[in-house]
């Protein structure tokens, strides 16, 4: 890493979530993956109506409940207590996954271990020999939603790039990621590969490329 690397300010988790949230237009049906993506909902104002879906048959989730107003029969796929907005509805698991697999969700945002510049995503197992990997609904969401965005750190803690030429971890789905929000940049996955839309303050394109295995492109 170059000297300059110390000069930039990575996006915080809330900033990453806000960046993604600001890109979601009113009226979209959106599934937010377990973990960091869930925080995106906090950055969408209630008067911009975005309809959040959870795999376990909950459509139209609202903000997290206050502690003394928990409805014990209302949880999301991350098994957190949630609320239902006016207009929310309940369905069974097969109907819920019909929404996902039938291409009815405008957007899904997942976390990931790796994203390749052809849009491949690996987010469910860190080894071909993982003893008991847990896939949950990730493969359904990645393959089924109209568009898939990823929210993740740009590299692992030890600096290994997560935006790669080819995923080394087991795939979740092929050629489906459309955009990646990292702590360093917002990057589209286009036909030519990764196209940088925005970088964290103070970061140069060269610095970003140094932290990225796959080739980066500038727009236009």
């Amino acid at each position: 890493m170059s000297e300059a690397a110390t000069m930039f300010k990575p996006y915080s988790r809330p900033q990453m979530a806000k960046l993604a949230a600001d890109d979601i237009p009113e009226g979209w049906y959106v599934n937010l993956g377990i973990g960091i993506p869930t925080a995106i909902a906090d950055h969408v104002p209630l008067d911009r109506e975005v309809i959040f879906h959870s795999e376990n048959g909950v459509l139209g989730m609202g903000p997290a409940p206050e502690k003394d107003k928990i409805e014990p029969w209302l949880i999301n796929a991350g098994k957190q207590y949630v609320t239902l907005r006016a207009g929310g509805s309940i369905c069974h698991h097969a109907d819920s996954f019909s929404m996902i697999r039938g291409g009815h969700l405008d957007l899904c945002v997942l976390g990931a271990f790796q994203v390749a510049d052809n849009g491949d995503i690996a987010n469910w197992a860190t080894s071909e020999n993982d003893t008991a990997p847990a896939v949950g609904g990730a493969m359904d969401l990645a393959a089924g939603a109209k568009r898939l965005w990823v929210l993740m750190d740009h590299t692992t803690k030890d600096g290994t790039p997560k935006l790669v030429n080819k995923c080394s971890y087991p795939l979740t789905a092929q050629r489906c990621v459309k955009r990646v929000y990292t702590n360093l940049a917002v990057i589209d996955v286009a036909d030519i590969g990764f196209v940088v839309r925005q970088m964290s303050p103070g970061l140069s394109f060269e610095d970003l490329q140094a932290r990225t295995e796959a080739k980066l492109h500038l727009p236009g």
């Binding site: 879906h53 907005r85 207009g87 309940i90 039938g102 291409g103 009815h104």
Partner: protein
């Protein structure tokens, strides 16, 4: 603010293209989106493929649409009706194509389209004319045939209640094909007897969630007529 409720029939029908596949819900005249069918007649799209349980009756609704020469092909389980004169005339003179599909297979093909299942196996129709030309497979000692999803460019739906997010309920046998037509269609257009405030419909009682609905028109026509 999301508002799927449109103010006019013209808004409800806007953009339906020639050559579209249109899925029509309804069984008998119960839960059948009659006013939307009239709207489609008015709208003018041609060369339509229409999937519905029946092939129209008398000279109104679907029969009228066919009589005007706007339907290239009909996919249905039961082309006969109390008065199938229009369909039979067109069919005998080779002016309309017919695909007969068992009723359960039509419903399941629509549901499959909505659920992202392009093809599935079924025992219905094995050993009959319906199986001719279809892929056969023996699974656990029984023979099945392969059927394709039936996706609509447009779906016409009748609901009992709707809200501005497009959540729907149905009344009794008015439910029939409506939920599968809504989920199978790229553009789902609903006529509803009642418009409710958002939040008025119980989340546990909503049958078609708004994710499957694009436009809602308030048509409080009352009870369906006799048959």
């Amino acid at each position: 603010m999301i508002n799927k409720i449109v103010r006019s029939m013209a808004d409800a029908m806007a953009g339906i293209k020639d050559g579209s596949t249109v899925l029509l819900a309804g069984f008998g005249s119960v839960g059948q989106p009659n006013q939307l069918i009239e709207g489609l007649i008015e709208q003018g799209a041609r060369e339509l493929t229409v999937a519905a349980n029946n092939a129209g009756s008398g000279h109104v609704g679907l029969a009228r649409l066919m009589e005007l020469g706007r339907v290239r092909k009909i996919i249905c389980s039961f082309p006969r009706s109390s008065d199938p004169v229009v369909f039979e005339t067109l069919y005998r003179s080779g002016q309309i194509e017919l695909e007969i599909v068992p009723q359960g297979t039509i419903a399941e093909r629509m549901r499959a389209a909505g659920a992202g299942i392009p093809q599935f196996f079924t025992a219905t129709g094995v050993g009959t004319k319906m199986a001719v030309g279809k892929e056969h497979r023996e699974i656990d000692g029984r023979t099945y045939i392969l059927e394709n999803a039936l996706k609509g460019d447009v779906g016409l739906v009748e609901a009992w209640e709707a809200d501005r997010w497009g959540n729907l309920t149905y009344k009794l046998a008015g439910r029939n094909f409506n939920p599968v037509v809504a989920m199978a269609s790229e553009l789902s257009i609903v006529q509803t007897q009642h418009v409710r405030e958002l939040g008025e419909l119980d989340p546990d009682h909503i049958v078609t969630p708004g994710i499957f609905v694009d436009r809602v028109l308030h048509v409080p026509y009352g009870d369906p007529g006799s048959f």
